[in-house]
Each structure stands twice: as C-alpha cells, then as structure tokens.
Symmetry: C2
Subunit: 385 residues, 2 copies
Amino acid sequence: MKPGIWSLLLLLAVRPGAAEPSPGVPAPSNVPGAQYPRLDSEGRGTFRIEAPLAQSVAVQLPQGRYDMTKDAAGVWSVTTPPIEPGFHYYTISLDGVAVNDPGSRTFYGTGKDASGIDVPEPGVDFYTIQDVPHGDLRSKRYFSDVTKTWRRLFVYAPPGYDADTDERYPVLYLQHGGGEDETGWADQGRTDVILDNLIAAGRARSMLVVIANGNLPREPGVTGIYSRAGMTGFTRELLENIVPFIEANYRTHSDAKHRALAGLSMGGGQSFFVGLANTEKFSAVGAFSTGLFGGIRPPGGGEPTAFDAEAAVPGLLTEPRRFNDALDLFYLSVGEQDPRLEATRNVVADFRARGLEVEFASFPGGHEWQVWRKSLHDFVPRLFR
Amino acid sequence: MKPGIWSLLLLLAVRPGAAEPSPGVPAPSNVPGAQYPRLDSEGRGTFRIEAPLAQSVAVQLPQGRYDMTKDAAGVWSVTTPPIEPGFHYYTISLDGVAVNDPGSRTFYGTGKDASGIDVPEPGVDFYTIQDVPHGDLRSKRYFSDVTKTWRRLFVYAPPGYDADTDERYPVLYLQHGGGEDETGWADQGRTDVILDNLIAAGRARSMLVVIANGNLPREPGVTGIYSRAGMTGFTRELLENIVPFIEANYRTHSDAKHRALAGLSMGGGQSFFVGLANTEKFSAVGAFSTGLFGGIRPPGGGEPTAFDAEAAVPGLLTEPRRFNDALDLFYLSVGEQDPRLEATRNVVADFRARGLEVEFASFPGGHEWQVWRKSLHDFVPRLFR
C-alpha cells in the first residue's frame, strides 16, 4: 500500500465532526476503544451511529426513546437526559429495526445478545473491582437428565478455595430472570466482585455461588412458569441434577442449613416456589423483584391472577411457624420504581400479619440490574449465620 | 389484557410466510429459540431479518456478500451457497450499516461483539462435547503492572485438578488474534472441549491452559506489533505478570520444560517473538497463521516488509542448533486458503534448509477458527512428551 493511500485513509478517519468527541467518557460497558456511547458526570448518554442512508434512527432505553439527528457526514447522534444509574439493555432503532450498538458490548438478555449500558452510580463501589483477594468464576459442563443435553453452569469459588483444601463451604444457588441465562449473574450481576468485596470486608461468609441456566422445558400445555406445573422442569433440574452435581464436585456442606436459593424476577418466582416447597433442602430463600405477587402480566402469557400464597405453597399462610422454624432467612426485595412494588409490599404486610417472618428491602430503580446487584449485596451478608 | 388482544398478537406472530421455516436446522451458534440463521445438510445458510423500511439488505460472510430479497411482509431473506465448515464472523448489511443478526449469538472479534455462524464439518467431532470427564474454565482477575488495571484471564483446569491436589501440571499459554480477546479461545476456539476430548482419549497430557488478553499498549510511536518494539507490552505482561501469577495460584511445574507458548495470527506473532527469544522460559512454541512471514499487510498499519528471521530472533538462522537443543517443539501452521500460506511454506523450507527443526501443518480453510481449532488439536498432543 502506497503512503498516499495511507494519508487518504487517515483523512477519512478524521473527517470533520468526528474529531471532537462529545463531553464525558466512554461507558464502562463499551467494547475496548469505542468512544460511543459516552456518559457525562450527570449520567447523560451520547449515542452515535453512522448510517448515511437511514431515514430515522433512535436509541431505545428502558426510560424512553430518543430520536437521533443526522449530520452532513451521515452520522446520527443524540444526547439523552440523565440515565438512571446501573445496567440497562438498549437497542438502536434503525429505520424501525432494533439493532445492537456496535460500540457496546453485548449481554444475553431480552432473549438475545443485546447492547447494554452500565451507568456508574456516584458513591457506590460495592460492585467495583477492588484490591482485595479475588475468587474465581468456573464454567463447568454437566449433563442434564431433564433436557438430555450438556448444559453450562458457573460456580463462584471464594478466595482460598484452592489453597485450603480441607475447608467445606455453604452454597447459594442463584437464578437469573426471564430472557436471560447463566451469564446474567456472572456478567451483568457482577456476582464475583460483589462476593469478593463482601468477604474481604468480613461482611459475608466464604461461600460457593452456583449460577445455573434456569430456562427449562415446561409440562405440555403449561404456558407460564408461575405455577407448580410450570416449575417442574426447573425443580427436577435443580434438585436432581444441579445440587447433586455440585455436591459431588465441590467441597460443600451438604445440608439444608448450608444451602440457600435466590433469584431475580423469573428466578425469584422459581426460588419462591422451589425453596419454600423444599425447606428440608434449603434454609434460606430470596426472591428479588418477582412478578408472582401481581402488578404485571406473568411471563409466558396468561392473565394476571390474584396471588394465592396458600395455593402456591400449602401451609405458608396457615402454618407460618413451620416455615419460620425451617428457614433461617426468607427475603423479598423489589425496585421502588418497579410496577411490582405495591403488590410485593402488600404480600409482605399480609405475610407478617399472619405471623410469617419475612425480611423485606426495596431499592431505587425499576425492574433492572442495579436493584438486583443491591439485593444480592444486601442478601448475602444475612446468609449462613 | 383481553383475550381478543391475545388472538390479534397470535395472528401477527404467525403471519403468512413466517409459518413454514426454510429447510435445515437453526445454526448451533444461534441464541436459544432463534429459527434463523438455518443450515441445511450441505451447509447452505438461510438468513432472515424483518426490516420493512430498508432499501437494501445483504449478509456479509468471509466468503462473500449475498443480497437478500424482501417479501410482502417486509421480511428479507437469502439462502447462500454452501458455507465453509467452521466458525465465521459475519454481519447483516442494513442499508449499508453493518449490524448484528439478532438470531445469532455474539462473539468478540473484528474489534466488536460480532455475529458468528458455526457450520458443522461432517465427520469432525473433536470439538464436540462428548460423554468424557470435563475440566473447567476459570475466569480469574489479576492486576497488571503494565496497564495498571485489573485484567481477566481464563485458566482451563483439566479433569481431576480439584481431586488430585498433590498433582502438578504443565502449562500452555495460548493467545488470541487481532481484534479478539481472551474470550476467543474460550468460546470460538472451544479449547476446553478440545482438551477434554484429547485427554480422555489418552492423546494429550493433562495440562493447564492459560488464555489471557494479549491486547497491550505499545511503545510510543510504534504502530505495528510485529517487531520487538511492538512486543514489549505483551512480553512484560506475560513474563512479569501472567506467568508469575499462574505459578503462584495454580499447581504448576514451573520450569521451561513444562511451559509452552502458542497463539493464532497476532498471537502467533507474539508467540514466535516472545517464545523464541525466551527459550530459557519456554520449551515449546507454536504459531498458527501468523502474518509475520509476509503475504499480508501487518495489523496495526505499516508496509509489509520482507521477513528477516535473524533480525526478529538473533541466532535463529545462524545458530539453529541452539534452538533445536532448547526447544522440544517448534510448530507452525496455516490455512490452505490463507494468503499467508506461501510465505509460511517458504519460511519453513528456509528454516529446514538451515538446519532449524520445525514442525509444519496446514489445514483446509482461510484465516479462520476452523484452522485454529485443528491447529490446537494437532499441537497439544505433541506437548510435554
């Protein structure tokens, strides 16, 4: 290639308009080197994509849709109002087609590998990598009797797991939401960083965290997962495949006292049903932002129905003491801007009125990962005490 | 939501044309549930995207560009000629904008999270998950003195690593190509599956494989990596950060006899330079599809220059016996349709004529992952014998 061609390419690369980036810095969720999207100190996002032939381009965030405008070079951009702190899936709408932003990393959510933007929250560093001992996250394959396929799960092993080979650990089983998979808690959720920081601060016990794929077949004719029939695949996978596999391959304490089950949204529903129905196997149950209690249409279709706790978990309302005795922790949480908030608060009040012990926390935010990171961070220190 | 609205949504979902899928099956690299892209038994790919407002849509594969045609419902599709077996990055060109295919998983390559299609190769199952003992792939954070940031690497631990805690293992350090990162060998490369299968068949020794991020800063003013100056960041990272970290945290045999270094493309150049210049630290060096020897423009810019092996690694041509004595294995490979083929063959012939021992293998395919999977599968059984 002749030097003259190089100059031309260089000239094209620094065409007018591209030379001066907008205020702010590249989002931490960008692919390496990508200058856009950018975030300023107030959380305003500037999004940008080159599409000279497009007729209309917009960025679709959970909080709203922002039309982009085109410059003379065919580059579309927009600066949004401040974006809520935390992690958000988003798309670029390119003449009506929802596409990924090439500047963003992708994250499996909304049923595809989607763009995501992680907006730092001032003063919050519990999910930031710190100079503390780090565990690791182990990707492991196991054979499922339910799906008859090899599946993947992640195991967080705390610092020291490989060094202290006589030590055994309690286990938290942690489930993702609908449209997500085992990568959710590993990636968007920053589980390993949250646990590393809590353990280093002496705020949580050293534990294993098992992050499995909760997408499992339903019984024929069952459309939603929010029923006992909808849970049978997950129940079998967890109790007959995952727990025995973990206890055979990792140094665990293998009793109910040392097993916890929690999840977000769909995984919160799974944890509620399976954890409460199996208190001889789990002593702690957490459900973050589950839609089980109402306020939204159930995932998988069907009409929202009034939540009947006693039908869901026989004895829950009529024999609360049985659950109080069996469980060391029953924990619910929800985002303060989540449409599930009121229903969750009502259920908590009802449970408490009937004598069922339940911890409850809410955090600023909608049906989103910042609430779930904070829920995990709040939940884990209460475990295995 | 009223039942009437449900019927309407159902009707929209099964609009004419969408009901009967094209021949073949969903590609194994699709997101769960995505019916497109599909592959038939000959490897023909059918790609499909809904974009009613677009003027022109095409799929861009390494082997060529295929224009899609629009049906009355605004759905674009095309069936391509047979696609070469193996893994290929690709894009959908939507009115000239290169976007991801929402049906495909994404893979970090070409400098972004890109769509990829994995076309099975008839009769080839060395990278298919089999019913054999499985190791795991551990994601681990370490602090880099070079970048002054926390970085991630993966460690493949072979079956039995956690059970036989007296056993120590040799280590292969394995580097990705340009525009990729540590996820390349973990994901596209299927390293854990290839190792599991080789070890189970008794064809490879149990070993650790360390897969690190080879993207590191260059000295000021150095534009390409294919020089000793371009390698300084990686050299420091590997020798001063990664190797000591691995040997402090995993049960390794910590001598040159039990260390190997290999990589693909850019990582092949890194392995060639750093491995051959440090034979007191590595006894095996592999370079798959490196552009170092000519045939292509160097990544990072600059003119292609004639390869001067003696300048790159002093003594390589003038004191071949020194390298023959120090190395148990020096291995080069390349794809038979890769433009690097001829230059690599010439270098091998030149090395051999001067008495330098080098193993050489070529595989059908271009500058692509199928060649690198086969290279790894061919290279690993020769290690640590």
